[in-house]
């Protein structure tokens, strides 16, 4: 998946597992940027009586690098606090939940937002909001009727143009999970696989699952270098790098009476910049280390980005389909195109009228050029393009504001990265290279099942526990 259960240690700690990160110029108010960071992979909507929630003992962070050095300049920190109205019952709710203050709602979670300018552990911090409400999870028609309205009420305005939301959402990342990890099968191309089966349409493996989303919308100038107003796409100051992380306290002691004592500094256990990197680019033996590191140290993983294992596997798994990729891989060439896309941003002069690099530091961040206006309208049809629409392919589809320039909720990042690794972007740095015909067709044939919504926080209203289904 994008970054769901992507490393051995974090796969055993879902509350802190950062699954997806999105960053885009807000289509409703283009003077602002919206950042969404998801946690808790593959949430079963019916998972009561102790339904999913954020970790009270986890520090969640969204970090911004605005000068290209791989170090955070602005950080938003989120901390959660669970309150139980009546610990004498086993129930999450004792009747229908009609509002965020409904006495029937037993187990609630509040949160705080702190902005830190400078290093995240020692910089200048300001509490932007505290005791902010999260919505309940979506249980069913009796417990959580009118869920969309209920969740809307949990969008908090913190002043100075800042808006936040934290709570359950429908999984927006779509991927043919069952296929891709069955020896790299890509439906509907499985008839071309080394172990062929008849071609059938792709199946979205995340259908019917939820996630927990932390969403923030802030003025662009809150994030740029010295409050720079990003109007010129060619200006490096228009570009920000975004990443998110989860940290736990260094020391934990479990006492016999179920009391848990924690102490010590925060230690990062999960991070996410570009999608799918720690999933399929970083080697198994380095995945836990990658999660613990910060982007400014990502040159230590350069070889994984420059020579991804997948580029060697594709020609093996699909005999005769990728001869040009096989030849390229055989030369041992460093994939400078992937390094630019994933580690430094694409500099000026490569793609006419486009750049999203704010410096040469190799740092895995989701880079976003804030000067490119949204190319899709904030309407249901605009935010839910058809599955085969070129818009889903971001920059490869001609959208300068699409992945890998930031990431919109509907961007098909799996297809874009598959195509890039298969050689479709190598001509950016070597015009003599001709990609294989298949490289430009690669996709897994899926799209989201729940519609994205046309307003903040944009991700879909969650699946309900009472009525939902998984694939097909």
């Amino acid at each position: 998946m994008s970054s769901h259960r992507e490393a051995p240690t974090i796969s055993k700690d879902p509350v802190a597992d950062n699954t997806d990160l999105y960053a885009f110029v807000d289509p409703v108010d283009t003077s602002k940027v919206t950042i969404l960071s998801n946690f808790i992979p593959l949430e079963e909507p019916a998972g009561g009586p102790n339904f999913f929630q954020f970790g009270d003992d986890v520090l969640y962070e969204i970090l911004i690098d605005n000068n290209g050095d791989g170090v955070e300049d602005v950080t938003y920190q989120f901390r959660f606090k669970t309150t139980t109205q009546n610990p004498a019952t086993f129930l999450y709710n004792t009747g229908p939940i009609g509002s965020l203050t409904d006495p029937n709602w037993n187990v609630r979670q509040l949160y705080s937002v702190t902005k830190v300018v400078g290093p995240r552990r020692t910089g200048s911090s300001t509490v932007l909001g505290s005791d902010l409400p999260t919505p309940p999870v979506r249980i069913g028609p009796r417990s959580t009727p009118n869920y969309a309205t209920l969740a809307d009420a949990a969008v908090s305005s913190l002043g100075a143009g800042v808006k936040t939301f934290a709570g359950q959402r429908g999984e927006g990342f779509y991927v043919d999970l069952g296929s891709i990890f069955d020896l790299g099968t890509l439906r509907p191309f499985q008839n071309l696989h080394l172990i062929p089966t008849p071609a059938t349409p792709g199946v979205n493996g995340t259908k019917g699952f939820n996630v927990h989303t932390i969403a923030i919308q802030v003025p662009n100038t809150d994030l740029t270098r010295n409050g720079f107003n990003p109007s010129d796409p060619a200006d490096p100051r228009s570009v920000i790098g975004v990443w998110s992380a989860a940290s736990r306290r260094k020391g934990t002691i479990r006492e016999k009476n179920a009391r848990i004592v924690q102490s010590g500094p925060w230690v990062q256990v999960s991070r996410l910049g570009e999608p799918l990197i720690n999933e399929v680019v970083i080697e198994l033996g380095e995945k836990d280390l990658w999660n613990s590191q910060t982007p400014d140290g990502d040159s230590q993983f350069l070889d994984d980005y420059a020579h991804p294992q997948l580029q060697g596997l594709l020609p093996v798994l699909y005999p005769g389909v990728f001869p040009h990729l096989a030849a390229l891989t055989g030369t041992g060439a460093s994939r400078a195109d992937l390094i630019a896309i994933l580690l430094t941003g694409i500099p000026s002069g490569i793609i006419p009228g486009f750049q999203n690099s704010n410096g040469p530091t190799q740092a895995d961040e989701l880079r976003l050029n804030l000067a490119f206006a949204p190319s899709y309208p904030a309407t249901d049809s605009g935010i839910n393009p058809p599955g085969d629409s070129a818009k889903r392919f971001g920059l490869l589809g001609g959208d300068l504001d699409g992945f890998p320039d930031g990431r919109r909720v509907f961007d098909n990042v799996t297809a874009v990265e598959l195509r890039a690794i298969a050689g479709a972007t190598y001509p950016l740095i070597d015009s003599s290279f001709t990609p294989d015909g298949a490289a430009g067709l690669l996709m897994d044939g899926t799209k989201e099942d729940l519609p994205f919504i046309s307003k903040f926080p944009y991700l879909a209203v969650p699946y309900e526990g009472y009525e939902h289904s998984h694939d097909p």
Binding site: Q77, R121, K250, S263, G264, P265, W266
Partner: protein, 91 residues
């Protein structure tokens, strides 16, 4: 071996020449040496707040290195005496 011997001689000579040096070395042997301190401002825990849990673990018994944590802070210190007392309980 020769280098080690030379080093010991030099050190002994130095200590004989300066009482200040001898006092300093004595202090170093008796008191813990702070090797590293990390801090986390986010929780704004006051330094030395005895109401928060204080945790410590022996990171390297051979080197006498102990990590002491409270609030969101930690100190990495070299305190062979403390390590010796702690490891006594573990034997």
């Amino acid at each position: 071996m020769a280098d080690e011997k030379k080093s010991k001689i030099s050190r002994r000579s130095f200590l004989q020449k300066t009482a200040v040096g001898a006092a300093a070395v004595g202090a170093m042997a008796a008191a813990p040496t702070i090797l590293k301190m990390t801090e986390n401002v986010q929780a704004s825990t006051p330094s030395g707040d005895v109401n928060t849990p204080v945790m410590a673990y022996v990171k390297d018994a051979a080197q006498g290195t102990v990590v002491v944590m409270w609030g969101t802070q930690e100190i990495v210190t070299r305190d062979p005496g403390l390590v010796n007392r702690l490891t006594t309980y573990a034997r």
